[in-house]
Structures are given as C-alpha cells and as structure tokens.
Symmetry: C2
C-alpha cells in the first residue's frame, strides 16, 4: 500500500481549510435560498433535479439513494414529502414489481424553474464572482479530477453493497 505522509503540507492545509469554509458557507446560502424560494431542502432539490435530468423524468428509488449517498429509508421519507406536495409520483416498476419508480411531475418542474434563477444567482455571486475565467477552468479541472478519484475509490462503507452479479456502471468508458 502506498503510505500517505502523516502530515498535510502547508499548502494542503491552506487548501483544505479554505475548501471547507467555502463549501460550508455556500451550502448554507444555497439551502437558505432554496427554502425561501421554493420550500425545498437541499436534498429535495437534488432529488428533483436528478429526476428532471433522468430519461423520462424518472428513476428507481434505489438508484436515487445510491447517487445521493442516502439511506433508503431517508429517501422514502423525502419522497413522501415531495409526493404529498405533488412534485413527484411513485409507482411500482412494470418490469420488476419490487421496484418503485419515482417521476417528477409538471408541478415539480415548475418548482424547479421557480427556484433556479435564485439558485444560479447565489452560486454565481458567491462562488464565481471573484474568480477569473481561468480560475474557473482550473477549478473545474481539479474538482473533476478529485470527483473521479472519489468515484473510483468509494469510501469503504459504500462498497459493501454491489457484490457479484450486478456490477455498477462506472462513468469510465472502456474501449
């Protein structure tokens, strides 16, 4: 095993501290905006956004839970809330009666549309406003790099699930 140095370098420390601070403040601001503009929690927003971007505007509950690093019961809870507000529907899958397919409704899309401008505004003004175009490019590159690294090396606890038969689709394309 490759041993990582037991200490962070000063540069790493600075990067880590600044990263967590930005992350925390941005998250806080985004949550506030979503709550005020559409009565959505951050997770609910992610849920709806993911459904909207999924083919057919729908996805299996389990896949949603996997993507959002969520427990299934937690997802059920949030889906119930959104269903009560008619922002999504749930129905058993025709292929596999065990599965539940969640689908975003028109009302759900409306809420997303209502919330989005303010969301962009927050992200834009807090995260990007002070950055030069090149900085943004560099940030995108570095974060994408790390993101890929994290997908490739899941945090141990998330590994226990997908065992033998249905291996998970990874975003890496193999020739």
């Amino acid at each position: 095993m490759s041993t990582r140095p037991p200490q962070l370098s000063p540069t790493e420390l600075a990067a880590y501290f600044a990263f967590t601070e930005v992350s925390s403040l941005l998250r806080h601001a985004v949550e506030k905006q979503l709550r005020e503009a559409g009565k959505l929690s951050y997770v609910q927003f992610q849920l709806l956004a993911r459904l909207r971007d999924a083919p057919g505007g729908s996805q299996r509950m389990t896949d949603l839970a996997d993507d959002l690093v969520y427990s299934r019961s937690g997802l059920t809870y949030q889906a119930q809330l959104l269903e009560q507000r008619r922002l999504l529907t749930r129905a058993p899958s025709p292929e596999d009666e065990r599965s539940t397919i969640a689908a975003i409704t028109d009302e759900g899309r409306e809420v997303l549309a209502k919330v989005f401008p303010g969301h962009i505004e927050v992200v834009s003004s807090l995260l990007f406003e002070s950055l030069a175009e090149q900085d943004v490019e560099v940030l995108a590159r570095v974060m994408t790099q790390v993101s890929g690294h994290l997908r490739a090396n899941p945090p141990r606890s998330a590994t226990r699930k997908r065992s033998s038969d249905s291996a998970r689709r990874v975003s890496t394309r193999e020739p």
Copy 2:
C-alpha cells in the same frame, strides 16, 4: 448590484457540480471518521480545533458561534455535550460577566490528538491523493480567493449584527 449573467457557463456548471459532489462526499467521510475515532460530530471537532488554536485555548461563546455560522442556542447545545464529556469547560468572563468563555481541556486536546491522524488520512487520501502538487497550489489559491470574497460579502443574514447604525428600521413593520 452588479449584473451577473442569468446562466452559468458550461465550465462554471462543471465546476459547481464537481465541487458540490466532492464537498459532499468528503464531508460524509470526515464525519464518519470523526464519529468512529472520537465520537465527535463535525461541528464538535471544529469547535475543539478552534479552541485549541485560539490564544489560551479559550474563546467567547458568541465569537465561536459567529465563526462557525451557528445559532447561539445550537452552540450552547454542543458546548453542553462537550462539557459533559469534560472536553471543554465554561466559565463566566472576568471582564464581562455576561460573557461565557469556553476553554479546551487536556482531555479535549487528547481527543483531538487521537482523532487527528485518521482525519488527515481521510482528507489526504480523498482530496489530495489524486492531485499533482501544482493542482494543490492552484486549489489553495482559488479557494482562498473565494473564501476572502465570502468574508467580504457575508450572506446578508450574518450581517445584521455589527451595525449599530439604524439603517434597517425602514423595512420593519410595526403594528
């Protein structure tokens, strides 16, 4: 108000998505490690770490709450938990009897010391392992830039404190 474009550029979008994903996964992993290694929540860890780095290992409750973007009652709650575990003490300030000074104890420092190696290990292997040294430098620079920007433009809600000025009577409704 400076006018920001109503849309994020593709690069900004990529940067934002990757950033939030990394932030979320890293936070999750860090919380897990802190919980398992020292039964600390992330906020409690930040609290202790901040006290440790403060002069005298102590700080006023209000200042702690400000720094951590925390409500006072929430801070009181966490401080109570830590005090019960003897990881910090609370005592009224000699200068101003209204204030409470929280101070980290030796036991608190021990817990931090116990938790730290694993913390470093998580951050190191998740955030930095896949990055070249130059990437880390760039990340530190960009995040510090944004962090400074955020400090300079607090998210509105955190602002309404220091102003002894009466600039906000205008929008206040009275019966």
